[in-house]
Subunit: 581 residues, 2 copies
Amino acid sequence: MANDLLRLVLAQINTTVGDLEGNRNKVAAALAEARALGADLVAFPELTIPGYPPEDLLLRRSFVEGNERALRSLGPETKGLTAVVGFAEAKDGQLHNAAAVFEDGELVGIYRKIHLPNYGVFDELRYFTPGQEVLVLDCAGFTVGLSICEDIWLADVPAAQALKGGAELLLNISASPYHAGKRAVRQELVSSRAQENLAWVALVNLVGGQDELVFDGNSLVCDHAGSIRASGRPFSEELIVVDIDRSAVQQARRAGREFAALAETAPTHLSLRVLRLAGPSSEKMKPEIVPTGVSPPLGEEEEIYLALVTGVRDYVRKNGFEKVVIGLSGGIDSALTAAIAADALGPENVTGVTMPSQFSSAGSISDSEELARNLGIKLLKIPIQEIYKAYLGELAPHFRGLPFDITEENLQARIRANLLMALSNKFGWLVLSTGNKSEISVGYCTIYGDMVGGYAVLKDVPKTYVYRLARWRNRKAGFSLIPEAILTKVPSAELRPNQTDQDTLPPYEVLDAIIEAYVEKDMSFREILALGYDPNVVRDVLRRIDAAEYKRRQAPPGVKITPRAYGKDRRMPITNRYREG
Amino acid sequence: MANDLLRLVLAQINTTVGDLEGNRNKVAAALAEARALGADLVAFPELTIPGYPPEDLLLRRSFVEGNERALRSLGPETKGLTAVVGFAEAKDGQLHNAAAVFEDGELVGIYRKIHLPNYGVFDELRYFTPGQEVLVLDCAGFTVGLSICEDIWLADVPAAQALKGGAELLLNISASPYHAGKRAVRQELVSSRAQENLAWVALVNLVGGQDELVFDGNSLVCDHAGSIRASGRPFSEELIVVDIDRSAVQQARRAGREFAALAETAPTHLSLRVLRLAGPSSEKMKPEIVPTGVSPPLGEEEEIYLALVTGVRDYVRKNGFEKVVIGLSGGIDSALTAAIAADALGPENVTGVTMPSQFSSAGSISDSEELARNLGIKLLKIPIQEIYKAYLGELAPHFRGLPFDITEENLQARIRANLLMALSNKFGWLVLSTGNKSEISVGYCTIYGDMVGGYAVLKDVPKTYVYRLARWRNRKAGFSLIPEAILTKVPSAELRPNQTDQDTLPPYEVLDAIIEAYVEKDMSFREILALGYDPNVVRDVLRRIDAAEYKRRQAPPGVKITPRAYGKDRRMPITNRYREG
């Protein structure tokens, strides 16, 4: 590689946690494809072999050994290439989040992640010991600084690579989870690091769903001036191919332009290791390629919708299911859930069930029928009145003289749950639950009722966004795929006569703003009041959020799309006497 | 404190997470009591003011500020005393797990925990920054090394306190959670540290339940020779009073006996700070006291039983409930659960419900009736046949031609769940679920069926232990409190004719041993085979454990009593293709 060009391939692949052999084979296939493209250097996402995040699988010695065997077996697949593959490395009784460097068939070096995130959804200090050494690969004169995910979110490792190691390309392998707007944040980061260090930056990101998380791909390549030069597609697998030209980097550096990164950001406690590689033969023939371009960012609704589709598809498929079943209430939440499921799995794999009671409006059935026709999904109808009456009959001796209350409302929701689970058990369909973030926040949902399911598609989607996504989907369809009646009716649980959500809750615009302030931004009662809301409303919403923790603890996982989702992103005690306001 | 005696009070109290004011007031009351006992130095458990563990409450600035205000308000309560109180300290944009030192009404110093556990149930690096300074209090010549929980589990901090700081007493404030046998482990630790450092060691531990955790108290005081001199009662609040005599320490040290702790274990990167205190006036009159003695350790069954009682009592009470309801199947699990609940809350606060079906044996009702009479709890009877028939009627058009299978079994379990939840909703009773660790491990339980409840009492108790605990409870009662028929019948879910657990599962002795090996010890398939089990049985059990992760994710919390419980102690992905064997 005596010349100034390095052909880089970022393999934006969709791995599966625990599938050591499958992930290994996916890497091998991508390497073969990259070789055909004339790649010099191929990089894979963080923890490629075990999948991300492997959680407590990492505590099993046999798992770590299996992942190391799978990694080493990749050697022969790297003939004629340099490849960077993520894995978990056991060394001296400790575990590292590591990247193996293969060159022309041999494992020649290992980098160990230095900055281990242990906040939000991340628990990396539970498993890993931080590395102590900044690594730069010297590929026959072309210098590449190698790092893993969090390492590039802080300034010190890149600064050490560029300032001390002379790195012309900063290559980062990531598993950076999605939330709305994350691509822009990552782009800003990559661009800043490039300019600070007068270096190319390439970040290869994981793609696909894993339990609560979706990884959006959106891999990025940026030149030393901070311009994005290539980007991976959102939410799909892709090999991104770019020829990295170091001449402009060298020119800028020779021109004496100062590194924006202050020398003091380069860490003093970390040593620098330079790994010298022979680099590919300079006679290597490279095919002409059309380098990957820059795909325009998606609109917010489309981006979130695709995240949800990806989360559903991968949860269902990676857990070995083909088909799903959804209770259709005639409301917007179940309608959007069904649309997402049909897009994710194909309408032939989705069954809707309408389960009317004496409290159901006429529309709740006819609107569901129209929805099912539009989506092309099957619709079953199972009325619940007779079952409900049977329960009331058996409970009558114990409830004598007591008025209808939330008990009878929940009873209906739980009858529907039992029916959905019966269909699930009999036919092997996974139940998708339909509750949105607004409901789940304030506990306006029935535990073991509408909360049941293997996956909660809208768990992190506030109600106001449910409407936006539904309207976007209809615009994309070019007609009212989700019937207009569903979009415009007054939200109601239909569990007692003339019930509406706003009997109990403030308008959703207000509710969602308070939830965002309290849950996502950790704002205090006073700070929320300063936004201009009624103290009684705010206090009531905060009380409801605190009191619903026990329900959320038993909720299915769902796709994280906000900066803070429920689940491992927000770990609140159930037993908790702290009250704001 | 010019003399050789220091009167130490360890305040083994039961705090509540988030109850800043309640915890503060509990500390104030204990201080008043300690003053009356002539205490020189009073110590409280780790994170006294916020409660332990406060989890993501710590991310709320308003919570941390409230905890600091509550702490500071304790100043006047410490007149005439030295007091050590745990709290969360915000400092320079970071948070510390801290201990405040008050002397005679003033806050005079703060120690910051150095070793932050981030494994098992612990997430302390999610919140806290490690301290960098070892602290020794010089109480008018009597030197006390102060540390927090994990700090004493490693050798370096105590060694620095004793070797560099000359500490004669190592005082550790802890929130050390229970598992069976933990007291002995802690006693071994304390004794070793004492001998290594030729110093007294006093460890004050939290007591009480918090969600999945129970803290067992069992505070310990040990002299420099390694002999336990006082211990706190298990599972109850207590002030432990001991006069610490330093003369023997000084004598041993003057005699030139070498510190067993090697000088090299004292950390070089940590600085030592000595906080000089005036100490209490030497004219202080101290009442004669009977110092706290050493309570003998409990037998294993009694210890675990008390842990379960404590967990249930505190979960129910701290969450504002008074009464509980339990489905009584006629089996051993629900019988033991009812006995524990009756002991924890009083029989007048426990209602059992028998819900017979056509598959129920005659004994399932009569045995439950006898149990309820023995325990003195109320028993309701709600048959489920009519409800079950109503479901089958509505499902018939969809299930036409399909045989009875697990669907119809689960249907029954979920009808019972719906009835229990209806009673819970109508009367405000918390549902206790009854599944044991063996069932929950292999998924031999119905999600939204027998798994429903606010608290899963036996979640971490293997079936073989369920029998041991039931027999122990009967021995303690002096009669068959849990009827003999329940103890001796063949375990069955009674969801189809002539069903027994062993149609599906290996004998419980085998099953529990495999679960312990795989779940608690992370042993591989090969390692488990080496214990002598049938490969097909082991493979089947491991598959079932892996496949049940989705059920466990939606399970209620329960008391941790083994070295590794489900919940935050074992964080496995649901989507997981890794398979052993």
